[in-house]
């Protein structure tokens, strides 16, 4: 049977498909992105700057996100490397299940994740009374926001590393062990250097996702202005208050980060390509 290939299609079909794809990207991604920057800089750079720095609540939101995102990424770095190593290198009962659990945060709505955390750590939650008795605040405070963010972004780093580790294979690690290296020496000197660009990309992507996380954080933060609002929550609040220029100004931070992520991905892909595996 003859095989049909893309270049067998008549030119008008190809043109139409390309045009459709371009239109979708333009309408859904490029135009809104430009709109955000146009809206933010409509009154000039000075107005933009004062909107970002003039409001104590906005500044507090930026500060909170600057604290939460690195913590969540740090947690995921540790758990992500551990989980990826376990799944890529070992055969153990429950391995498939662990793989599925890693993907769970992608499958579950972030709002549900937030509710889980409320059920565990909220005042009426499972650990609520014990936590309250010991004066530990988790929900409606930074720890809860960090947990919610870490949970939602958990798969990012692990999913970046697992295929890389599997492609590289265990031979170099076995060689290192045969040369007398201990587990942590293998990890530090062989495994991680081999996946460093993938790891770096995972961290950047995870940071972007962590800073932009909305649903789960919305539920656990309690939305106390100037205290538990992160950047996305603050943007939403400004938007609800009809402060569109303020919302756009703050949104440029997240949009800029997204562009940076894209750039990083392109650079790292090129880097991995030139290093020849």
């Amino acid at each position: 049977m003859a095989e049909r290939r893309a270049h067998d299609d008549p030119p008008w079909v190809r043109s139409l498909l390309i045009a459709a794809a371009t239109a979708v990207i333009a309408v859904l991604i490029v135009v809104p992105l430009i709109d955000v920057f146009v809206g933010a800089f409509a009154g000039g750079f000075a107005a933009y700057w004062s909107r970002l720095t003039g409001s104590p609540e906005t500044l507090a939101a930026i500060r909170l996100t600057a604290v939460v995102a690195p913590l969540a990424v740090g947690l995921n770095l540790v758990f992500g490397i551990a989980a990826a190593w376990a799944i890529a290198r070992f055969r153990f009962p429950g391995r498939t299940l662990l793989g599925a659990i890693i993907d769970l945060p992608f499958a579950v709505s972030p709002v549900v994740v937030g509710l889980f955390l409320m059920l565990l750590f909220g005042r009426q939650g499972l650990f609520g009374p014990w936590l309250e008795a010991h004066g530990v605040r988790i929900v409606f405070a930074t720890p809860g926001i960090v947990l919610a963010t870490a949970f939602v972004t958990f798969p990012v780093i692990a999913r970046e590393l697992i295929p890389l580790l599997e492609a590289i294979g265990p031979e170099e690690e076995i060689a290192a062990v045969s040369l007398g290296a201990r587990g942590w020496q293998v990890l530090a000197h062989v495994t991680l250097p081999n996946v460093r660009w993938g790891l770096l990309f995972g961290v950047i992507l995870c940071t972007a996702r962590a800073m932009g996380e909305f649903g789960a954080v919305y539920v656990v933060s309690g939305r106390i202005a100037g205290k538990t609002d992160t950047i996305p929550l603050r943007i939403e609040k400004l938007f609800q208050d009809y402060d569109l220029p303020g919302a756009f100004a703050l949104a440029t931070l997240l949009a800029g980060l997204a562009l940076l992520t894209l750039l990083a991905q392109a650079v790292l892909r090129w880097k991995v390509g030139t290093e020849g595996r």
């Binding site: 031979e171 170099e172 076995i174 060689a175 290192a176 062990v177 045969s178 040369l179 007398g180 290296a181 201990r182 020496q185 000197h189 062989v190 250097p193 081999n194 460093r196 290093e275 020849g276 595996r277």
Partner: protein
């Protein structure tokens, strides 16, 4: 340091990979584990290294029982089939790795790495990355890396497997010379009998998880213990038939076989190496021979390989003819000739294997 594997058995699930194997590698020997794929040779090597644990049996380095010791504590040099060089490290760092994890002082590391790179003739490539090296160079870096921490034993998994024929030839001779210089007890795995016979002091031929024969290459070549070893060494013609009353009747040949004087016939297989067959233009008298037609003549380096067909018996035979003799005979495809064995090895009993 001598290595002994004593009564080793190993299962992978329900597959018996090693079946009560005992092997002694004397101090300073270079031993080849030779066998077809699935014969258990690599499993035995990995057990000697500590990369696998035997289900039954003991591994000793000299008198020390190392069966339960992990590879990290055994101080072995292991060369992997695909080298497993650290791809992000330079040649220098690769060779230095085993010394760094042992916390050698910096100056001693540098000196030792230079010494090893000189030994494997890779001076000047210290700063190259593995991706920039040829296959043969990578192999030598892997060897230098394995030898750097002064291992008690050196183990190599198919060291020539991934190389093309010419580099393979060079590296064989080079490994032999290296072993004569370093003298570390070494075991290497190969499926290629040329690798084994050209390089090793001792060869252990393996089949289906068992060792069929151990000995110096010449002894194994001259006195194969059984049909499998004979056949596996290659370049051999096989004749099936029977023995009875002091005679072997195999594939149209009749030769004396006084070891079996009995009345009752038993199946037998005879082997004649390709260089032990002779091609004659005239029919010989008082010599076992077959009439055959030349089918194909092909020069193979130092000899000429001639394929002949003994039509009466449906036998295809390969004969190695020296170039001088070939010039005398002036053989051409289609010629009718006589083929006679100078030497023939008979094994009584059915042949119970397939390669």
């Amino acid at each position: 340091m001598s290595i002994s594997a004593i009564n080793i058995s190993k299962w992978f699930g329900r597959f018996l990979a090693l079946d009560n194997v005992t092997l002694e590698v004397p101090d300073g020997t270079l031993l080849a584990l030779l066998g077809p794929s699935g014969s258990g040779k690599t499993t035995l090597l990995r057990i000697l290294a500590g990369l696998e644990t035997p289900d039954i049996g003991t591994v000793r380095y000299r008198d020390e029982d190392v069966t339960a010791a992990p590879v990290r504590e055994r101080n072995v040099g292991f060369v992997f089939q695909h080298y497993a060089l650290f791809r992000h490290m330079t040649v220098f760092e690769n060779v230095a790795f085993g010394l760094r994890v042992r916390r050698w002082p910096r100056a001693r590391i540098a000196a030792r790495v230079q010494e090893l790179l000189a030994l494997v003739q890779l001076e000047g490539l210290e700063r190259a990355l593995p991706a920039q090296l040829s296959g043969g160079q990578r192999q030598r870096v892997a060897l230098a890396r394995a030898l750097a921490p002064e291992p008690r034993v050196l183990l190599l998994d198919e060291p020539f497997g991934a190389l093309d024929a010419r580099v393979r030839q060079e590296l064989r001779q080079w490994l032999r010379r290296l072993h004569d210089e370093v003298h570390v007890t070494s075991v290497f795995v190969t499926h290629d009998q040329e690798d084994a016979f050209e390089v090793a002091d001792q060869v252990a031929v393996m089949r289906e998880g068992r060792i069929e024969q151990v000995g110096p290459p010449a002894a194994i070549f001259e006195r194969p213990a059984n049909p499998f070893v004979m056949d596996f060494l290659g370049n051999v013609n096989v004749f099936h038939g029977r023995v009875e009353r002091g005679l072997a009747h195999v594939g149209g040949l009749e030769v004396a076989y006084p070891q079996y004087p009995h009345e009752q016939a038993r199946p037998a297989t005879a082997f004649v190496r390709t260089h032990e067959l002779e091609i004659l233009r005239t029919q010989p008298v008082r010599r076992a021979h077959l009439r055959a037609r030349v089918a194909h003549v092909s020069p193979a380096r130092s000899i000429v390989k001639v394929r002949v067909h003994a039509e009466e018996f449906g036998l295809w035979l390969t004969v190695d003819v020296p170039w001088e003799r070939y010039a005398e005979l002036r053989l051409q495809a289609g010629d009718l000739v006589y083929v006679s064995p100078r030497r023939l090895r008979v094994f009584v009993g059915g042949v119970d294997y397939a390669i």
